[in-house]
């Protein structure tokens, strides 16, 4: 290409799109949702804590006079359909989704709130099964539901059940994991196969059947994170490097939920003002997930996960951290997939299977299957 339009730093001229109403794309974890947050929610609630824009918000310990641990706080809502799917259900998701958001700041999850919006006509047995699954998930994740709320809406006004959970956790002293901490030279890792959850949901929703069942990967990730933090010790970035404050251990963690790997990497390059290059061939993807994506015309890098994280760590400790991940039951297929670079800040590129290069952009709104 000979032309060089310079679009760096360019922002969308019509932030809330031309839509006079909310459309599904506003909730899909892509550019449309980011615009909604950036131009409506963030300015309305403007404060330093919301401004962290991480999976969870970190409260400095000086707020309550201690000097050791910090507090992490997060919330998430769960509106999945169907309520039960291969490998999980909405109750498990509601617990693991929120504890994972805490874990992505390095926080040990402690307490949850649980808000239930129930639709008139929801079978009591379904609700019972969901709540039982939630309770089991809480035990697995080591958290307690400490407060809750129940509302019922008229039949036709909900999808059976919506659940909101908020989570409180403790970030141990010395742990500083956040989306703005990626530095050129850092290494990018994923904790396992990408796209399992999204394809599992889609296979049920669209009535697709494959020779092997694709199961959601929903699991709590704090145990894995704890092992990674331990393995990452000693890899401290030298003080004053690149004009930034010293960073210890793991630099960034994100769970690759809506929008998948592509959305998470794009958020990280935006927050950290760096570029990322990864190698498509190094990203673990199950053959059946790949096949489903080929058939449906979808890109596996954009498919949601519920038990996989993306980590950015200093090069010196990358191999240690990888070994720790591979030794953990939820990180067996972990892999180093790329690195953080100085070049093209704000942009994620991928080396393709034939050795070419492409830009891996933010998804716009909803994922759309291609026609041909």
């Amino acid at each position: 290409m000979t032309d060089k339009p310079n679009l760096l730093g360019w922002t969308c001229p019509r932030p809330l799109q031309n839509y006079p109403t909310i459309v599904m794309g506003h909730g899909a974890g892509g550019k449309m949702m980011a615009d909604l947050i950036e131009h409506l929610f963030a300015p309305a609630f403007d404060n330093e804590w919301l401004g962290q824009m991480g999976d969870a918000t970190k409260f400095d310990p000086s707020l309550w006079g201690t000097r050791d641990s910090s507090l992490a706080f997060t919330t998430d809502s769960f509106v999945v359909s169907p309520l039960f799917f291969p490998g999980g259900n909405i109750g498990e998701l509601a617990v693991f989704g929120t504890v994972n958001d805490l874990a992505m700041r390095g926080a040990k999850p402690l307490y949850l709130s649980a808000g239930f919006i129930l639709e008139e006509g929801l079978p009591m047995e379904t609700l019972g099964n969901i709540v039982t699954a939630m309770a089991a998930a809480c035990r697995k994740a080591g958290v307690k539901v400490a407060t809750g709320d129940t509302k019922v809406v008229q039949r036709g006004h909900g999808d059976g059940i919506y659940i909101n959970t908020s989570g409180l956790g403790i970030i141990p002293a010395g742990v500083d994991i956040g989306p703005a901490n990626a530095r050129p030279g850092d290494v990018v890792l994923v904790s396992g196969t990408m796209g399992d959850h999204g394809i599992a949901i889609m296979s049920v929703r669209e009535g697709l059947t494959f020779e092997t069942e694709i199961r959601s990967d929903t699991v709590p990730l704090y145990g894995l994170v704890e092992a990674m933090i331990e393995a990452g010790k000693g890899g401290d970035t030298p003080s004053g490097f690149d004009g930034h404050a010293p960073l210890r251990g793991i630099h960034c963690l994100r769970d690759a939920t809506r929008g998948g790997l592509a959305a998470v990497l794009n958020e990280l390059v935006d927050s950290s003002k760096v570029g990322i290059e990864f190698d498509e061939r190094k990203v673990p993807i199950r053959p059946e997930v790949n096949a489903a994506c080929e058939m449906l015309g979808l890109d596996p890098f954009y498919i949601a996960n519920e038990g996989k994280l993306v980590a950015i760590v200093p090069q010196e400790t990358a191999e240690n951290v990888l070994a720790a991940m591979c030794g953990h039951e939820y990180g067996k297929n972990a892999a180093i997939i790329g690195r953080v670079v100085d070049e093209h800040p704000g942009l994620v590129t991928a080396k393709t299977s034939i050795g070419g290069m492409r830009v891996v952009d933010v998804p716009a709104g909803e994922l759309l299957p291609r026609i041909c």
């Binding site: 794309g25 080929e294 299977s353 070419g356 290069m357 909803e366 291609r370 026609i371 041909c372």
Partner: protein
């Protein structure tokens, strides 16, 4: 994945690229006709690996991109009717009509559903006898057999509540129109539209064969190479085309033999012929190309959504004057030459379909423009 990974092989790619480099002695512009090929070229990064003398122009073969604004507006009007369930391939939903898109219709209460096959739409019709289920029958010769089959099955099953909004287009007519328009302007070849050879769309040829291209090669004296979709397939097609150009020959060549025969898929062609007949069709941004599309034959008029809801027939719309997607689709302008590019028009706020579709030329330029390449 077996039968796919072999065609995405890095070693084979390197070897073919070396061959291509050796073969190429001067500048050549090739047009890949099909949007699926464009998508694969961009996704694999192949465009940036080619010898600098080879330029690929993205052709008008993205079915979403060429569906005329007027048909999109009709789709939006139909989908807004309370008695209608409107079903469509997924990527049509974000294509902007003159005022809104199908996503917005859905948000305002319209029953709009994504289906993977027109047969899924038939099932919806069976399950909802009190509603009229309309399927947006768009695309090239590739989607035409399945869409025709849905109409045949609806007729056989007496599904009176099923209808199609047809906007089918065909490839050979588009190639003729592109060549004619460029030659009409300058006597030989217009300076801003110089295509030396075509990579014909492998999937279209799987259905239709490639005999239709033989007269075109004779008339316009340009090579046409039937080409597949994986990177190795594409390189193979490009190499065959450049070899012809360097040797000064022009013929139809088949670089997608594992899928395409000269005659094509005869039963599929028979189904198309049974249900559809040729008609003049408008192409988004290009205008009407004579005998370039399919419409339902009169005996299937009962399944024609435009006849069933005559109010939509009156819909006539003009395209945004800022948008030059038509010139882009014809390979006559680069996306970055458009005044609206990256300003009024982005993948999130597309003015034209070439910015909507992930394989549209403008969307591709937008992504790579930011890399400064």
């Amino acid at each position: 994945m077996k039968y796919i990974d072999e065609y995405r092989d890095a070693d084979l790619t390197r070897k073919l690229l070396a061959d291509l480099q050796k073969t190429t002695t001067r500048d050549w512009t090739l047009m890949e006709v099909c949007g699926g090929q464009t998508h694969s070229i961009i996704k694999s990064g192949l465009d940036q690996m080619l010898p600098p003398q080879i330029e690929l122009v993205h052709g008008p073969g993205c079915p979403v991109c060429v569906t005329p604004l007027e048909q999109v507006d009709k789709a939006i009007a139909l989908a807004s009717l309370p008695e209608v369930i409107f079903s469509s391939y997924g990527d049509m939903l974000r294509v902007p009509g003159s005022k809104q898109d199908l996503f917005a219709v859905k948000a305002q209460g319209g029953d709009v559903r994504i289906v993977y096959s027109p047969l899924d739409a038939l099932k919806i019709a069976k399950d909802n006898p009190s509603k009229t289920v309309i399927f947006f029958a768009i695309g090239f010769e590739t989607t035409a057999p399945a869409n025709a089959m849905a109409v045949l099955q609806a007729k056989a099953q007496g599904l009176g509540n099923f209808a199609v909004l047809v906007s089918h287009v065909t490839v050979p007519a588009a190639i003729s129109a592109l060549m004619d328009s460029s030659r009409a302007e300058s006597g030989t070849t217009s300076p801003d539209m110089k295509v030396d050879g075509f990579l014909a769309a492998g999937h279209v040829c799987t259905v239709m064969g490639f005999w239709e291209y033989e007269p075109l090669v004779e008339k316009y004296k340009i090579p046409i190479v039937v080409t597949g979709f994986e990177p190795v397939d594409l390189l193979n097609g490009i190499l065959k085309c450049v070899r012809q150009l360097e040797a000064g020959t022009y013929k139809v060549e088949n670089a997608y033999e594992r899928s395409v025969s000269r005659e094509g898929n005869l039963p599929a062609q028979a189904v198309i012929k049974q249900v559809f007949e040729m008609t003049d069709r408008a192409w988004r941004g290009i205008g009407v190309i004579p005998m370039s599309g399919y419409k339902l034959r009169p005996e299937f008029a009962d399944f024609d959504a435009e006849l069933r809801f005559p109010e939509v027939q009156a819909i006539q719309t003009k395209e945004n004057p800022l948008c030059i997607s038509g010139l882009v689709l014809q390979g006559r302008k680069k996306p970055s030459e458009c005044a609206a590019f990256g300003k009024e028009c982005t993948p999130q706020t597309p003015l034209g379909a070439t910015m909507v579709s992930s394989e549209g030329a403008c969307a591709a330029y937008y992504r790579y423009g930011r890399l400064g390449k």
